[in-house]
Symmetry: C3
Subunit: 205 residues, 3 copies
């Protein structure tokens, strides 16, 4: 395995930024499937490609961790951050996939708001990754992610109450519950990413 000649720090920060940018792309794809005239099969295929690209980045980070003598922060933390970023993509891909597989035709009104929260949280994450280098100005990132996660949580509960209100057919409840839960898991996974970044920052400070 080739040992990189570039400073290791740069490589890792760049890779984390790449990983987070895949999430921005994934959240935008997920949002696009909500359009009435969306080509669901095309979006679903684009999502699968985005997920493969994200996988590549995750594997590249793991390979680098295993072949680099000096890492910018603890190996376990690098591995945990890479996995957490990867989990976000998996939940987003699952959401798109579920919508297509279950042939979901109508989503609860508040679902678009959840996807919007997800989009904002992925953008904040992508903007924060390069700041891992200086470990500066990261507080505002994780505070805002926590705020978004709380907002998403309240919204999620409203959607569940609506689903179980009796105005949906039971098979429809079963379908929609899977869709809204996978978006909620994607938002939670972005909070996990922020918690890991906070842990790293506290250790390094």
């Amino acid at each position: 395995m080739r040992i990189s000649l570039r400073p290791v720090e740069t490589v890792f920060y760049d890779l984390f930024t790449t990983a987070a940018n895949h999430l921005v792309a994934g959240a935008d794809l997920l949002a696009s499937i909500l359009d009435d005239d969306a080509d669901r099969v095309a979006v679903s295929e684009a999502m699968r490609e985005a997920e493969h690209a994200a996988d590549e980045t995750t594997h590249e980070i793991v390979r680098r961790v295993n072949s680099t003598f000096v890492t910018p922060f603890d190996r376990e933390d690098i591995y945990a951050l890479a996995s957490a970023l990867d989990d976000v993509m998996d939940f987003m891909e699952e959401t798109v996939d579920t919508i297509v597989l279950y042939k979901v035709d109508e989503l609860p009104a508040q679902f678009a708001e959840q996807v919007h929260i997800l989009q904002r949280a992925t953008r904040l994450t992508a903007e924060a990754m390069p700041r891992l280098r200086s470990m500066k100005d990261l507080d505002e990132y994780w505070i805002e992610i926590n705020r978004l996660e709380n907002e998403g949580d309240r919204n999620h509960r409203r959607i569940l109450a609506e689903l179980f209100s009796g105005s949906y057919k039971t098979l429809q409840v079963l379908k929609l519950k899977d869709v809204v839960e996978s978006v909620e898991q994607a938002i939670d996974a972005l909070e996990t990413v922020a918690n890991i970044v906070e842990q790293i920052a506290v250790k390094e400070s």
Copy 2:
């Protein structure tokens, strides 16, 4: 960050005891919602406060781990134990929340027994935490938790068989399954706590 002047050991044992006491309070709140004349909104709010209090304790433990030079046992084990205790509260809060959100009106008869197992397991956990200091008399704790978890597991399976017996409406099955599964997860999480305590005790012995 302030470095504590009290002996670190005392601080951690006290914090773990506080965390486990939050669980006792949470399990009692969950039990109280089963009363026919319970004020569900009030219980749900009290539960949310209990969960916030538990979060505070978890964060305090994590802060201490990160700012203390000498910890009474491995940092990873302290972190794992704090997370596992926190998970129990999250599952209990989810249970109460699901009952309120889904407007669940009738629970299977054996459900009260599950909540009773949960209450007993939280009390045993709270009584065991101060014994982490001497690492003595912990065997009986984890043996009894394992026994309770097995009892809870058998009871859980009986409830599921009842739910799918055909005597419930499908939407009701969907609602009740979420409720009983979150209690089962809370009991499992208490077994995870006991497993971590066992691991710590084996290492330190």
Copy 3:
């Protein structure tokens, strides 16, 4: 606790092989319940015994890790591998249990194919475990597991699309979804095992 006089390496490789062989037995039991004339109660009991035997092996590995001075690879990796193998068994036992508890009478046609993938993956895992000793010829194992997991994933999605196609009663969808998801989780857990083996091999190489 007795410190083993046999070379530690041999003990761990043997125990991992034993653990994987329990999985082969479990997958075969799961396959046997699909026969029209299967004695479901008997299979369910045999499965529970297989799960207990697997638990014993897991505990033995954990005890050895905690009482051995020199381990053939990192303690965390031994622990992670033992847990991951144990998870596979838990998902297989859950599958059998769900079939019995919910009195599932007819499974989707493609379900047998999923169980067949699971059987092949457990066999590959059992054959790979003794090769941990030399760390040789492991690539083909994890490449093939990844291929099987992808095949299982595609098959799983086809089954879900079939379940939600409208040709099943909703209560039936709820039952079958739990069954097929637990098999999918068992296959995923075998991929996690392969990923951990890959990680260990990369570190040791």
